[in-house]
């Protein structure tokens, strides 16, 4: 397969950056998108050019590193997939493909397609944890958790913190991520003691990082590779509003 690529090249955080055209041929339809970029980089290195910088790690859809905005979609056109899970057979031979970094004030570009997503780490550090020692594994029935709650918590915990929600949101809002991280603890008994302060601290940190405000557009949910639900945002809204009204 042959593709025309328009890839965002930016030397460093201060550089203006621009889209650069590349043509790539002899691509196997069963290659992943990242493998296609590997082939392109191989060609660039052989020509003595600077290869395209991009984040990647596990290449099996669980690390959340491969952030690429491909032809106007976070992680490309495939539903519930990361870039490494996107295969070239999803495109037509001869397609022109745009490849851009996540665009958000809170995710500044470091180089080419690599963005600094440490804002997410700081949100987690603000309260996305349980600060008591959990000790050894307890007796299975010592802390009863209803099946439905366990399922919802595990669904929220599937969030890999990739930032596709922020990238896809027209407002650059991070609420799907933050609400998943709040929900995975709010639904369990271990998360209850710090439930109020957690909601307040994580939302405040999210605002401080310069993410936008949710207007319930739903692009985040549609683009999330782990299919995190908007119900989590409603839960976060409830928790935050309740916590704000009762806090001293």
């Amino acid at each position: 397969m042959k593709f025309n690529l328009k890839v965002w090249r930016q030397k460093n955080a201060k550089d203006q950056g621009k889209l650069v055209d590349y043509t790539i041929d002899n691509i196997n339809a069963d290659m992943s998108f990242l493998e296609m970029v590997d082939v392109l980089n191989d060609e660039l290195v052989r020509k003595g050019e600077d290869p395209i910088a991009f984040d990647h790690d596990c290449r099996e859809g669980i690390c959340g590193m491969c952030s690429m905005y491909i032809s106007g979609r976070a992680h490309g056109p495939q539903h519930a997939a990361t870039t490494c899970q996107l295969y070239m057979r999803s495109f037509k031979d001869g397609d022109t493909i745009y490849v851009e970094p996540w665009r958000a004030k809170a995710f500044p570009v470091i180089k080419d397609l690599v963005t600094d997503r440490s804002a997410f780490d700081r949100i987690i550090a603000a309260g996305g944890f349980v600060s008591v020692n959990t000790g050894q594994a307890q007796d299975a029935n010592a802390l009863p958790v209803e099946k439905a709650d366990a399922e919802k918590a595990m669904d929220a915990a599937a969030c890999i913190g990739c930032g596709a929600c922020v990238a896809a949101c027209p407002n650059g809002a991070a609420m799907l991520f933050v609400s998943a991280k709040i929900s995975q603890l709010a639904l369990f008994p271990q998360g209850q003691p710090e439930r109020n302060t957690r909601a307040i601290n994580m939302v405040n940190q999210m605002d401080e990082e310069g993410f936008g405000n949710c207007t319930n557009i739903g692009a985040c949910e549609a683009e999330c590779p782990k299919e995190i639900k908007l119900t989590n945002i409603a839960r976060m809204n409830r928790d935050y509003l309740a916590a704000s009204l009762i806090s001293e």
Partner: protein, 224 residues
């Protein structure tokens, strides 16, 4: 945490949009119901009775101040959200397939709201402002003939077109806003979501349609 901090936060600001939005929706119900009395085609008799009650009753007139405040908060908060959300993405995408993951009207609440604000200025300049000006602070019963004014204003096809355009904007704004308000307030529940969605869609169609029918009926001479 102080209570003023809530409304500086992202979650607080959207909750405020939701509360004021739902409040304005209740206003639409009352406004629409009373104005729909013109469809009785009784020379505006019923409409005038209800209209002058709304314009002269001290409790309603006090609520009118709350209504104006509700509009102002909804508008200012909306503009604030629009600005912050625009700033959150300083560099735009060269290629963005937004229609693949969301509806155009959910992304255009700021634009639709601005169109409604322009309509609101035109609309209040036709009826509400001249009426309150004539009433002044003390002569509450000295109202203008609102029914006669409607018959007069809606003879102009351009104005009728502006009102229809305003109602269409209201339809799209409500189609997203009605159910969005519940989500912002955290009221998302599998048992009630479909009912909220259904009520929101029905409301968004019915109320703007009734409103749009008023200038059209008068222009076409169905109501005299």
């Amino acid at each position: 945490m102080t209570n003023s901090a809530i409304f500086k936060s992202s979650v607080g600001k959207k909750a405020l949009m939701g509360v004021t939005g739902l409040f304005l929706i209740t206003f639409l119900v009352i406004h629409c119901s009373i104005n729909a009395m013109i469809f009785l085609n009784d020379g505006g008799e019923t409409f005038k009775k209800w209209g002058s009650f709304m314009g002269t009753n001290p409790i309603i007139r006090t609520m009118e101040i709350v209504l104006v405040a509700g509009f102002l908060v909804h508008i200012v908060d909306g503009l604030l959200l629009w600005k912050q959300n625009r700033d959150a993405r300083p560099v735009k995408y060269a290629m963005n397939s937004a229609n693949a993951n969301s509806t155009w009207y959910s992304r255009s609440m700021g634009l639709l709201g601005t169109l409604l604000l322009i309509f609101l200025v035109i609309h209040t300049a036709h009826f509400w402002i001249p009426n309150r000006m004539q009433q002044g602070l003390t002569h509450w019963h000295n109202e203008i003939d609102l029914y006669g004014k409607m018959l007069e204003v809606f003879q102009n096809p351009v104005i009728v077109a502006i009102y229809i355009f305003g109602c269409v904007s209201l339809f799209w704004h409500l189609l997203h806003g009605f159910k969005s308000a519940f989500q912002s307030l955290g009221l998302n529940h599998t048992k009630y979501n479909s009912a909220i969605g259904w009520a929101g869609t029905a409301f968004s169609i019915v109320v703007p349609a009734i409103f749009a029918l008023m200038p059209v009926s008068i222009y076409l001479g169905w109501i005299k």
